[in-house]
């Protein structure tokens, strides 16, 4: 059963798996109450780990999302972007 977020401050964590995550510039865009921001993570540094991308205020009922794309700016097309779970921890 999926639980919708109640309004408030949440620290957002993204899960970086132990494989297929070799980009040095994974750009996560966080859409929160009042705007959006981009946080870059070097996925090489994490191995099956929750990685914090900051604390944001989210309001109940409004659109909120975390977006990750393959546009890392890198030209080595052998590198890969690993997508996985997202965690919202109340703060």
């Amino acid at each position: 059963m999926h639980i919708k977020l109640s309004g408030g401050n949440y620290e957002v964590y993204v899960y970086v798996p132990n494989n297929y995550a070799t980009t040095a510039n994974a750009k996560y865009t966080v859409y929160y109450n009042g705007g959006s921001t981009v946080r870059s993570i070097n996925q090489n540094n994490y191995y099956n780990a929750w990685v914090s991308i900051g604390t944001y205020n989210f309001t109940s009922g409004t659109t909120k999302r975390i977006r990750l794309t393959d546009a890392t700016g890198e030209t080595n097309y052998n590198l890969r972007v690993g997508f996985d779970a997202v965690k919202f921890t109340p703060r």
Binding site: H2, I3, K4, L5, S6, G8, Y10, Y15, P17, N18, N19, Y20, A21, T22, T23, N44, N45, Y47, N48, A49, W50, V51, S52, F58, T63, K64, R65, I66, R67, L68, T69, D70, A71, T72, G73, E74, T75, N76, Y77, N78, L79, R80, V81, G82, F83, D84, A85, V86, K87, F88, T89, P90, R91
Partner: protein
Amino acid sequence: MLVNTKNKLIIALITLLSVLSIVGLKSVHAGPARQSLDIKSVKIDFDTPIDLDVFIELQKNHKFKQQILEGEFTYDGTPIHDFYIINESNKIQDIKSEYIKSRKGLITDTNKNNPSSKNGEIPTFDNITLTNVTLIGEGKSVEAIKKDISNKNIKVKNLNEKDLGEIKPKDKVAPKKVPTPDESQMESVTSAAVVPSIPMSGTSYFYTSSAGGRYVQQNMTWPSVSFGADQTYEHDVFLYNYDRKTYLNGASIAYPGCFPTTTYAATSWPSESKPYLDTRFSDSLSFCEIDELSYTIGAAQANAIKANTNYYTYIRTAIGNDTADKFKVQAQIGHRTPSGCYTTWCSFGDASYNLVPAWSTVVPGTLSWQYGQSIPNAPSNVSITDPTANSLRVNFTDNASNETNIYVERKTGTGGTWVSLASFGTLTGTGNWYWINSSLASNTTYCYRLKATNSSGSSPYSNEACGTTTGSSTRSEVITDDKSSYFTKGGSYWWEASIGYNSHMFWTYVNGSSVSSWGENFN
């Protein structure tokens, strides 16, 4: 290999094919074509060494990206195992005369650096025989020459094959959890580290070769040897392209493959140690290593190495930067998997030790070294993650392999006073570690720093990193996985069932600066 390889990609490629064909994903191939390469590497051990002329005839009808020919000879009573490399991009007209020239170059170069050598007359090397060959090329070329060898009734003792299309550019190494820290003896140095089976002294030489190009010679001596039956040893020399001018810029046609091509290599390790050469060619099929260049000779059967013997490795490159390089030398102890395979791709590193600290500055030149005779490098990359109401995770990189202890200090709040907290003793080799600091107060900020020590003294402190424990909250933590309906994705992507959070994750390739694949999470 310098990097560990896992076989997961091949599973993923099979998964990918089945996903596309069976499930019929509405994925669009908006990005550039990203096909896997049909490149194979095969190492063939001959039952009895074959004449070089015979092999030259055999290979001339086939096209390979790289061939490594291995032979053995004795000079001045020292048995030498050598590697002669033929690259597609560096076409050699007369293989035999170039091989002979390389052997003579080896002897001339090493005689200069080995004062105890009797400098005997240089042999003519008219009869070169090959113990084994490693061939890298398209699958069909590999199959064709295997057939030719069979047709000529040349007996093969061992044959190991590797699909290089599956080799990934970079693999990750999991951080290890530190052993239970000793909080009772904070200021006393714990017992001395167990001495690993690595050479404790040696000399590094970087000079212009008498046979052309540049050579890297590494002399080394083990005071004692205690390798297990399936253990490997690798002597890794790293050159740092300090000025970023002379090579490795990825564009120069003078350096096809982005770095100076290895043309010849040799070692005086015993043949029973089953030496192998890692040219890094396999890792560099499609991308350039701009900053760092590595030269590696390994011993797949390391327990054949003898104590108190002066050994050397020698690698010659076609061209070399000899003005502004820096270098380091690492010893790597690893193991073979499977244990019956003696190639570079069956050797997996377990622990590395810095013999010459990074980045020493004598290239070109000579440097004598002794292991562990200096204060350890400081830990780095300290970060604080995974806060709970009563614990924080302290992540750090151990950069020293000669430390006897690593201490962690903590202060409460960013303005507090540093207090010694725990010590971890010797952490094997270098690498990433973490420690969970528990029994903390909720909603409180703590800062951490580390240092490494040995009998010579203490390293500088690492960076400082702070984290805040969580408070109690009536709101719940929410997790959405990529398998949930709140997770959407588009473009071309693949998934893997056996890894990631909740045993499932998906991935795509990087695509420069325009978006063609993406995933997002709603809540």
